[in-house]
């Protein structure tokens, strides 16, 4: 049942199906048994009635008659549903009960003497009947004998009604039991599924970065799952950190020789070798740009933040501000920070530091004297703006700005790959990067980051 997603629905559905099948079968069996017992009882009654009728017959004077005084009162009451008749072998009815109200007894053939049988009758003017016919040879005291048939018919209506009533009760009980069982089952499921619910909630919290790992005691059936998830989270974290360490080592082992080459080139400058050295320097710079860009790009993981706490933005901005204030000390930049206390990032802290660092560095680099950093969170996104009072960014520049390695102003030294890295990182978090005009007069870069997805 791939369509039924919920475990609870599955259990309820299948238990309902099982109960319906079980109760239907039980119902049929009980119904048949009840009918059989009703039939049995009715036939007993028919036999007793016939015996009563036989006992009531008076054969005084060689004539058969049925004095009413000895009869079952049901035979005397009009349309009582109990009918009787006495036939002799010449076909004539010696007696018919008053309950027939003058109609003929609905069966007129005779039973063979010594024979008896039950007969179902469906005759117009009568309810469905069952008749009992008993043929016997009546011996008069004179020694004469004649074949007679005693017949009693009983209406099936009261029996059918009892059968129907029995069915109603049966169905009522079964329905009641089924509903009660489903309610009990549902409650039981809630209780049984509680640990799964908790697991699901914790996974969601881990995903949202509100929880580092799954905790608490889980039942033996899912403890393996919980442990495996924890292992997965842990592995993911360690894999990420190993990956980054590898990148760091790679950066070190690629860039130190590059640095050595550049330094060596600068050391031995002669007039004659200058053009060649300049060309080499340019090549080295290009190599460096590519290596830097690829390494920083590879480092931006867009990691889910699985198993990490939400990252508060304010301390990172403060750290970066202090760093940049030191680095751009001589420029005496006034940087105003307006970060909402609730501004958090659900993702990798390194990625956030990279985005903020590049944006703020950009601001410090291109401003005249002032930079403004703001950040606030909505439940779904983190919105960051970095504005400055520099000359701003034109639409053309904005278009080329985010291409790899492009600088808006080639005259300011620095890595033009910063904003390209910002854009790549923002893409990983399904975010947006926009260029606008800051109220300080220069450019404003606005980044919106969505929360990271699971795994």
């Amino acid at each position: 049942m791939a369509l039924v997603r919920s475990l609870r629905a599955r259990v309820v559905l299948w238990v309902s199906v099982a109960l319906v099948v079980l109760f239907a079968a039980t119902g049929v069996v009980l119904d048949v048994a009840f009918r059989n017992s009703l039939d049995e009882a009715r036939r007993e009654l028919l036999k007793v009635q016939v015996l009563g009728l036989i006992g009531a017959v008076d054969d005084a004077g060689g004539q058969l008659s049925v004095p009413t005084g000895n009869l079952d009162p049901q035979l005397q009451v009009a349309n009582s549903g109990t009918y009787g008749a006495l036939y002799t072998d010449d076909g004539g009815a010696v007696w018919q009960s008053l309950s027939l109200l003058g109609r003929d007894f609905p069966i007129d053939y005779l039973a063979v003497a010594g024979d008896e049988r039950f007969e179902r009758l469906d005759v117009p003017g009568f309810p469905p009947l069952e008749a009992f016919l008993k043929g016997l040879t009546w011996e008069f005291s004179s020694g004469r004998a004649t074949d007679v048939t005693f017949a009693i018919a009983l209406s099936l209506e009261p029996y059918n009604e009892r059968q129907a009533a029995f069915r109603r009760i049966l169905i009522g009980w079964f329905l009641g039991i089924t509903l009660t069982m489903l309610v009990v089952l549902s409650g039981l499921l809630t209780f049984v599924l509680l640990p799964l619910k908790r697991l699901e909630r914790q996974v969601r919290e881990v995903e949202a970065g509100e929880r580092v790992k799954l905790t608490g005691r889980y039942p033996s059936e899912i403890i393996g799952l919980a442990d495996n998830l924890n292992t997965l989270i842990d592995t993911e974290r360690r894999r990420l950190s190993r990956y980054r360490n590898t990148l760091d080592d790679l950066a070190h082992s690629l860039k130190t020789p590059l640095a050595a080459m550049r330094t060596l080139l600068a050391e031995q400058r002669t007039k004659a070798a200058e053009p060649a050295q300049d060309a080499l320097n340019r090549e080295l710079e290009r190599m460096d740009q590519r290596v830097s860009y690829q390494l920083r790009r590879a480092r931006a993981t867009g990691a889910s933040g699985l198993g990490t706490e939400p990252v508060a933005v304010a301390p990172i901005v403060d750290d970066l501000k202090q760093t940049l204030d030191k680095v751009y000390r001589d420029k005496r930049v006034r940087c105003s920070v307006e970060v909402a206390p609730n501004a958090v990032f659900r993702g990798d802290p390194g990625d956030l530091t990279e985005v903020l660092g590049n944006l703020m560095d950009n601001g410090y680099k291109y401003c005249k004297a002032r930079v403004r950093v703001t950040a606030h969170s909505t439940p779904e996104r983190l919105v960051i703006t970095v504005g400055d009072d520099g000359r701003g960014i034109t639409a053309d520049e904005a278009a080329t700005l985010f291409q790899r390695g492009k600088r808006a102003d080639e005259s300011v030294p620095g890595q033009g790959i910063g904003l390209a890295v910002v854009r790549e990182t923002v893409d990983l978090y399904r975010g947006t990067l926009d260029v606008g005009r800051s109220e300080l007069g220069g450019a404003e870069l606005r980044v919106e980051l969505a929360r990271a997805g699971l795994l």
């Binding site: 950066a251 082992s253 130190t256 330094t263 060596l264 202090q322 760093t323 990279e354 560095d361």
Partner: protein
């Protein structure tokens, strides 16, 4: 000015040291963190250049130790990692600036110069003491707006005195700052150069820019014209 360079790549270390020396600094080289820490503790150093990816002891650990020891001279970090977390961490631990590899040597020299200037309490690259003006960037010296021709060593000596204007500097201090370790020390040399500098700065012997404090050393007495507000 005595610099400590802690860098494990031999080519980079040698070549960078050569260029720093060419720029007038005396340079101690060290190729691993522990050795660097030893030098930094045992020798007077005006500025340290520390690579973050060092064998035996990371640059970060080295910086932490130096600051824990109370060493206050500027530290310039060389790093191959250009991620902001590393930069932030290095500066938080007490580094003063960073240069990402592969760097431009001229830019590194400018950073070193700026750090030393700031450590001396100067905010601008132009140092002014009374009538003397020294531009650390162009290495030009003027007295009362008249340009002064100095030899390289004279310039270094004046720069050192001006960076520490108002402080008493012993002959040993000056020698160590201006010469590499292997230089044969002779305190008379400093006396000779101080004498020459005095004659060039103040030929009329009118304002006596450099004081001699008997038994203690020298002091640039002229008042700082552009005090730092940092």
């Amino acid at each position: 000015m005595r610099l400590l360079l802690v860098e494990d790549d031999p080519n980079l270390s040698r070549s960078l040291a050569a260029q720093l020396e060419q720029a007038g600094y005396s340079v101690e080289k060290s190729t691993d963190g522990r050795e660097g820490l030893y030098y930094a503790r045992e020798y007077p150093v005006d500025l340290a250049i520390v690579d973050l990816g060092l064998p035996s002891m990371s640059g970060v650990e080295l910086i932490k130790q130096l600051r824990a020891d109370g060493k206050e001279y500027p530290i310039l970090v060389l790093t191959a990692r250009d991620r902001w977390q590393d930069k932030v961490e290095a500066l938080k631990l007490g580094a003063d600036d960073y240069v990402v590899k592969p760097f431009n040597v001229e830019e590194l020299l400018a950073r070193v110069d700026a750090l030393l200037r700031r450590a001396g309490g100067w905010a601008q690259s132009e140092l002014v003491c009374g009538p003397i003006t020294l531009d650390t960037r162009t290495q030009e010296v003027k007295v009362n707006a008249a340009k002064l021709e100095l030899t390289s060593f004279e310039y270094k000596l004046l720069e050192y005195l001006m960076l520490h204007a108002g402080e008493v500097l012993s002959k040993t201090q000056i020698t160590e700052a201006l010469y590499s370790e292997d230089f044969e020390r002779d305190s008379n040399v400093i006396e000779v150069f101080i004498g020459r500098l005095r004659r060039k700065l103040d030929p009329e012997n009118s304002y006596k820019p450099i004081e001699t404090l008997r038994g203690r050393g020298y002091r640039l007495a002229a008042e700082r014209g552009a005090p730092d507000s940092d």
